[in-house]
Symmetry: C2
């Protein structure tokens, strides 16, 4: 049998939607079915019944099997469900098995139908962001152990449904928990294609198109940074932390090329500089590269979280006096918590004066370069030696997509190459400059480029700009809404520079406490409780943390193109609703 669980409910009730609002899947389904006469009408109906099917006690469980040879739709239909019985099939029946074509296509189509239903559901505000369960609950209620024996394709489909049932809906318009939110449909299509192409970025030989698209895209990104004619180098790496680590590695190699062979024992004691609000990956990188976290000197920030250039200069001079060699300054364009942009021009001047590699960690804020309205916040970025820029954050490219852009051409290659002759043969018949694998730390490298490139094609630069501008507009709306609202206190004053809005909410029971210490103590516990309740209700998700001597506060960020003003209103109402008793 082909259709189960998610599929089997609702078809008979499809007409009975009088009590539902027009925005429910069922009402929508009826409208669609009327509008479209082809097979897609009924197919979409079936798809949308998924939302309805979610309510039974165990929505992912196996249903009694329909008669072999029929689909389980309750009425005559021309949906794509055929008479293939997955309960009798195993993965060995799929391609490359002889005559596996049809079974394969039907199986993959079944999976796609599950995914399409999940996607539609994810954007529906009436569904939960998360159906939260504690780790032990999930482990106990699901048979996730691996065994010697195979399971049927039916069981595999059940596992797919269960996985999505308990997944977090990162596309949901009210999911604000991370810097990477939302789900772009073209990006998703591109990622499906990438999986299907299933290849590796190390050589042109095995990834001709993807290697060229990476070349084209990196050049475009360098142009946007402002490097002449887009010259320079770069790579897509598995995340901003690794991109930042690459930058530190390059800076060290540029100053002391002998470090590659001789190691740190050939090098004087180094010093790296970054703000106290910078991302933890700078220290992580220093630990890994054998520089040590003690050699990462944290520069003071102002009230808004921006690095103070005079403190940077002071600490550089101090380090030199101690005999350390300053080699690396990482300025942050869009800090993780405050969304602050370090003053890049002043920092560039200092780096020039002391001949230090200037890196800009724009993992979060780099995307503002795409916006004519907001790119001034990164003025000076063109003077950097390297820039981290994660399109998987503010540009909503599916995870992962992080670029490191480097101003000097050829440096990555000399820093990292090992000339593996089984991979980078020098007597190949094509232009070897496209075999870029030897400049990477990785050997095999996942294809992260296609989703960004295809989205860029689909949106154009102006499309990304519009998307980014809208998120910033929403955050300004939130800021204006709460800055003078009763019970709210801003963590820092002034309009946010990025989409980060940091605030405390003081529920009635905390708001009027007179004992300052007691008030802070109680306030510290508010955000975790509200967050836990958000997750248990599944209505929304937003992050919180302490910072320095500041007790737990909410860090709202908006990178989800699905979010609207109404969702911001909802968040505020929800925070207040969930903390009435606190």
């Amino acid at each position: 049998m082909a259709a189960q669980g998610f599929w089997s409910l609702g078809a008979e009730n499809a007409g009975d939607n009088s009590t539902q609002s027009p925005s429910t899947p069922r009402a929508w389904c009826q409208a669609a079915a009327q509008k479209f006469t082809g097979g897609i009408g009924s197919k979409i109906c079936a798809l949308l019944n998924v939302g309805e099917a979610e309510k039974p006690a165990d929505p992912v469980a196996k249903k009694p099997e329909a008669e072999a040879g029929t689909c389980s739709c309750s009425k005559p239909c021309n949906c794509s469900k055929t008479n293939i019985g997955f309960s009798e099939l195993y993965s060995t029946d799929l391609l490359p098995a002889t005559n596996g074509d049809l079974k394969t296509m039907t199986f993959l189509q079944e999976v796609v139908d599950i995914l399409l239903a999940y996607i539609v559901e994810s954007f529906d505000r009436s569904t939960k962001v998360i159906d939260f369960h504690y780790p032990n609950e999930l482990l106990q209620s699901n048979n996730w152990e691996l065994s010697d024996e195979p399971e049927t394709l039916d069981d595999i489909l059940i596992s797919c449904r269960a996985t999505l049932k308990y997944a977090i809906k990162t596309a949901h318009p009210r999911y604000f928990n991370q810097l990477s939110t939302g789900l772009d449909m073209v990006g998703l299509a591109a990622d499906w294609l990438t999986s299907t192409a299933n290849t590796n970025m190390f050589t042109y030989e095995v990834a001709p198109v993807f290697v060229l698209l990476e070349y084209v895209t990196l050049k475009k990104m360098r142009e946007i940074i402002g490097w002449q004619e887009g010259r320079g180098d770069g790579i897509f790496s598995p995340g901003g932390a690794i991109s930042n680590m690459y930058a530190m590695l390059l800076a060290r190699f540029k100053m002391f090329p002998e470090v590659k062979e001789k190691g740190m024992s050939s090098v004087p004691r180094l010093a790296a500089f970054t703000s106290e609000h910078s991302h933890f990956s700078i220290k992580k990188g220093a630990a890994a590269l054998g520089i040590g976290t003690d050699s990462v000197i944290c520069i003071k920030v102002d009230e808004r979280g921006k690095m103070i250039p005079s403190d940077l200069e002071r600490r550089i001079v101090e380090a030199k006096q101690k005999g350390l060699v300053p080699f690396f300054v990482s300025a942050t364009a869009g800090t993780t918590v405050y969304g602050a942009f370090d003053p890049l021009i002043a920092i560039a001047d200092i780096c020039k004066k002391y001949e230090i590699w200037m890196h800009v960690d724009g993992a979060w804020g780099g995307s503002l370069l795409m916006s004519r309205k907001h790119r001034w916040k990164l003025n000076g970025v063109e003077r950097a030696n390297s820039v981290t820029w994660n399109p998987h954050k503010m540009m909503s490219v599916p995870l992962q997509c992080s670029a490191l852009l480097v101003r000097e051409e050829g440096l990555m290659q000399s820093c990292n190459q090992m000339h593996a002759c089984y991979l980078f043969q020098q007597d190949k018949h094509y232009d070897l400059s496209y075999d870029t694998g030897d400049k990477a730390l990785q050997c095999g490298r996942h294809v992260d480029i296609f989703k960004l490139w295809l989205m860029w094609k689909a949106k154009g630069t102006i499309g990304f700009e519009a998307q980014i501008d809208k998120c910033l507009e929403l955050s300004e709306y939130l800021y204006n809404k709460i800055k003078d609202r009763e019970g709210y206190e801003m963590v820092f004053n002034g309009k946010p520079q990025h989409t980060n809005v940091c605030f405390w909410y003081l529920p009635p029971g905390v708001r009027y406490l007179e004992d300052k210490e007691e008030k802070q103590k109680r306030l510290h516990k508010v955000a975790p409780v509200i967050k836990a309740r958000m997750m248990e209700y599944g209505t929304t998700m937003v992050s919180y943390q302490p910072q320095g001597d500041k007790v737990n506060f909410f860090r709202m960020v908006i990178s989800n193109p699905a979010a609207t003003f109404e969702d911001i209103d909802f968040l505020i109402e929800e925070i207040e609703r969930l903390s009435q008793d606190l």
Copy 2:
């Protein structure tokens, strides 16, 4: 209009397949259409006509548009192509756009149809492995530049088709070029689901299911290695090179925990040991970690490419005499070129004697642990401190999927953690031991677990075993076929231990040369020419390289579950056919 390019040919000829062999898509299509009365019959027909459509001059170009409101099938049909006109739609019409549901589903379905067609084609031996073009040709004949303005969804679909047209078919039964080949259908489905779930591995909060599945799977892998009750630690990392780098990082931290804060200046000069045939990532890791490539001491191998334990011991003693501190031995289980397994028991004895961290780089050979017949080749692996094992190689999990397994629990966490309080809040409402992100070098981490876990469910351990055993059987078949065949010389003697079969083919013009030096010089050029011709004909792909003083030879490897004895025969015939004139 919905259907173009790939789609628009063939429908009117679907009945006219008398001249085709039954294995062609067209004949298959007819059979399928007769067998299945539902919508899937015509749908599959349309899908399979893709193969037919590949031959026109420009198969990815835009076709004249069909009338708006009709699908472009030439006969009445009930395929899922609706009257949505992609040439008038943009990505902004898709979700989260109001009423974007139907357009989104139709668009994604169109992409899936392109992918399904590509998949079926990839397994068809009558299609090319690659439609090779030189980089400049591709750049000139395609408009891949990025611009300010958006393109229509129609253009996006055309780009998808073009990308696949020039992609390498890594699933093709005659693609032998890399250690990672083949395309597993359940793995692919899982990767599509992963993209759709679009989340991050750092916390339980945002990836509850995936975090638990990683936990379950790592434990299972440690059990298979032989660690008691599967105890220990581990992580899925972006590839074997990074897994190996993690191991080196852990070994250094274990011996000198102060290195995290103080860097390499607090540590004596270190020495790492690995065989001269080991993977280049060991040196790459040493360069990055500030240890330096000169501190990686290459141990001699025997004629079969296995590390010689007595040489290891000699070099350890020598290093100590020079004042170096030996801290890391990386034994290789399945070398990249020869497929050799270093003698792990002897190496474990030496590591124990000198108290050195023993790492096993089983990126390629680790999967043999799944085979009762072949796992003896890794005897002693249970004595390692860490093991790299890439299921994306011999187990055909889609790229990337690489695990580092570590015997000591908690070490990764203490080595790498930075306590970022915006991510790893200590006052969350669930068991924080599942927030595993702080043990990683990465911050955001791609979900690589689901494809492996779902494949394991679908195959069972015995399914992986069967798949691996079959690949080894095929390589033995190849070895037996060529070892005494005229014109072939084996690079090393004896039955291969892994699926690597390394050989020279001496074409008639080289075979009888008397001048030894001239013969070697000519032979060195043979493999590159044959390889270039393979790619230009697109019939098959296999790797070649020199090694040490050995001139270019072919390194045949088999990891593709689609390969058969017939494909091995084909490879040999093709090598001989393509070099008749050499």
